[in-house]
Symmetry: C2
Subunit: 440 residues, 2 copies
């Protein structure tokens, strides 16, 4: 049997970053940058004001005190966006708004709170054309210097970055309205099995709703792919072979990967195995993992990578997670395609198969944990896997399906918050044992 890590390496070897495409800024969100982005000019482009106030020569106001303010002539009024370049000569000041370029001659900004436009007796009063400065400011005070953020030519974004809002903003700030990114993979998902009917249709004895094509389509979409969902397909090897060849040939639109479920074990009706038996590029290999031992992998003649996953829903889900998802992320251009494995501690006891790694759906063990939320699964998910930490900071977890770990428990799978990865050498997990978990 092939080891878990060996098969992961084989699946990653099928994936290369997809071609690049230039897209508008917002369309780059969630995609992976395929270029370094440099700023053609310094950021900020000019020394500019960090405050609303008055641009002054610091030397002019060195002696300013609240009871002896310095009076300066106001020679200009610089709104943000103004292209005025008034000279601030000794004794002069320019009214300036946050972000406006500091005019020639000025070397500091006095915040408006430290000024008035006149004093009459003890009260501040208007004085057309002049400002009274009540306190001194240091040279450079409240001035944002040109190049503070980046010098001309500096790289502000690097190829390989997953584009988020701050990347979009940085690109805009250097004058870019488009970005070059790797395009999304388009993935065809095909479920197989004569027992499957589309969800919502009536069932007779022996039939069950197809859930795998929906599971895998959703998982592929969550992994950043566009998805073509097909199935359930009948247990007809010739027809399935024609469909897979048609997908490979682009007859349903170009696809970058094909994922099937079902029909890969040792039974008499293993349609995927039969359909691909004569494809030299595809191999069926047992992998030392539970669930998910029967796996198929390879390329169709047109070059499309194909993953044939087992049909039990939990096996499909865990196989996608550890074998397909990293490959899709690699196609998107990401370098680091593994979820972080977080140290955890078992709060439960279960046995694991001899000689096989185990992927066990788990939940946090704290009593208040809401099984309806999935920590870390989406940026928008507010749940906190840190809430059920042991004294040493590790999260305590138990099985998501305490009555059993059967790979058919599709309803229970929805409560899982992560997968524990138990190495092949372990035969029993006991409360208090150290585990590695990734939140899904």
């Amino acid at each position: 049997m092939r080891g878990l890590d060996e098969h992961r390496a084989a699946t990653l070897a099928l994936a290369t970053p997809l071609p690049t495409v230039e897209v508008h800024l917002l369309d780059a969100l969630g995609l992976v940058l395929a270029e370094d982005v440099a700023t053609p000019e310094a950021l900020p482009r000019w020394d500019n004001s960090a405050m609303d106030g008055y641009a002054v020569r610091a030397a002019d106001v060195a002696a300013a005190r609240p009871d002896a303010p310095v009076r300066l002539r106001v020679v200009a009024d610089l709104a943000a966006g103004s292209d005025d370049e008034p000279e601030v000569t000794p004794g002069a000041a320019a009214r300036i708004m946050t972000g406006a370029p500091v005019p020639p001659g000025a070397d500091a900004v006095v915040p408006v709170e430290l000024t008035a436009t006149a004093v009459t007796g003890g009260a501040w009063e208007p004085d057309e054309g002049a400002v009274l400065v009540r306190e001194p400011v240091a040279t450079g005070a409240h001035v944002r210097c040109a190049g503070d953020d980046a010098a001309a030519g500096d790289t502000v974004l690097r190829a390989g970055a997953l584009v988020g809002p701050a990347h979009v903003a940085a690109a805009a700030s250097v004058g870019r309205s488009t970005l070059v990114v790797h395009r999304r993979p388009r993935v065809a998902v095909v479920s197989t099995g004569d027992e499957l009917v589309p969800p919502g249709e009536p069932l007779r004895r022996g039939q069950i709703p197809d859930s795998n094509s929906w599971l895998l389509a959703a998982a592929a979409r969550e992994a950043g792919a566009d998805v073509l969902r097909l199935g359930p397909e009948r247990d007809d090897p010739a027809a399935l072979h024609r469909l897979l060849r048609a997908l490979d040939a682009g007859e349903h639109g170009a696809v970058d990967a094909i994922v099937t479920s079902g029909g890969v074990s040792a039974g008499a009706y293993d349609v995927v195995k039969a359909a691909l038996a004569d494809e030299p590029g595809v191999a069926f290999v047992p992998v030392a993992v539970q669930p998910g031992k029967p796996q198929g992998l390879g390329r169709l003649p047109g070059g499309t990578p194909v993953w044939t996953l087992p049909g039990n829903p939990v096996s499909s889900a865990t196989s996608f997670e550890v074998f397909v998802r990293p490959a899709l992320l690699r196609m998107r251009g990401l370098v680091d395609v593994e979820r972080p494995r977080v140290p955890a501690v078992a709060a439960d006891s279960w046995s694991t198969p001899v000689g096989r790694a185990q992927l066990m759906p788990v939940v946090r063990a704290d009593p208040g944990a809401d099984s309806g939320t999935r920590p870390g699964a989406l940026a928008s998910d507010g749940a906190d896997p840190a809430a059920a930490r042991s004294g040493d900071g590790r999260v305590a977890v138990r099985r998501a399906t305490p009555r059993g770990s059967g790979s058919h428990l599709v309803a229970r799978l929805a409560v899982a918050q992560g997968l524990a990865v138990i190495p092949a050498g372990v035969e029993q997990v006991r409360p208090g044992d150290s585990l590695e978990v990734f939140w899904t």
Copy 2:
């Protein structure tokens, strides 16, 4: 000044879960379930086989041994999806595939590996119409019992769950092709400022590219909203007021929230403040936070909540994160709308303002940390904030902008991996100090 938490509470008070809508399974991905989903029937519906093999009466094979196999008549061939219900009488067996219903009379499944179809001398040979069982099986062996996964009527998904792939699969498995979810918020984002020009257009002195509308549009989209991006709008209070009223009235399509940037501080050109000065539902309040002190908040006459964020890019970004994002998640129907705050330790030193909380963009302090990736930002992001842990498991962080924390550093913001929240009482952060960080 209003405290950070008080203003957060005020912004959340503007947000209520949006109306529900029934969508197809895949379209529910990433939305929040607005109904409990129960299974109308037991899952599995029938006792069914967990293996490819033979359905038998366990008592018939109790004496089976490899050197003395028990011969059973094969009375049926049950593929998955078969609606056959053959009676398995004493001495009989039914060939059965994984997932097929266990026929009446049978109480166990013998895996195909433990059978043969005949023995001739020492070798296993075909024997039409019969099977040889080499080992005994316990009653119930390799049978998945009806109701194992869920009993009829059991709730398998709860309202409030963020729909992920496993939820989609569970819904399909109980026969649902649609789900009732809260619809996404539609958010209008408006940047303001005479100094702003669309990114990519030529700049004259005093002008800069608009980055805020792109930043906020991307952040709103990442928070699960559909976005109408507008701007840059000129510093014309009457025109801006007309635009905001038109948005509130649905003239640009229905919007559930409006977010503006810029024009809210104490200067002479604060267009948003001027535009909304006469709107009784909107208040401008200083908030004890750095950056992001000038905030406006309220409802327009048509009921649309409006957030007016400051215009410095870092202020806009952090204000969106702590004030707008939780409200959008609440509109989506999520209950837990806060990102987890993770204990961390400072690897850097900086001062913080007296009497104001500070939101400091930070990066992991390990030397190998790649500033191009954002841990935890998207499900698809493989980076690991756990990589730079201190000895006690806490992540060490330093400022993302070590030369300064100016709120104009938009290019630098792209390297930030999270925000440290420094309470108002702290005036100086020193290496080794405990921090709370959320990864963005």
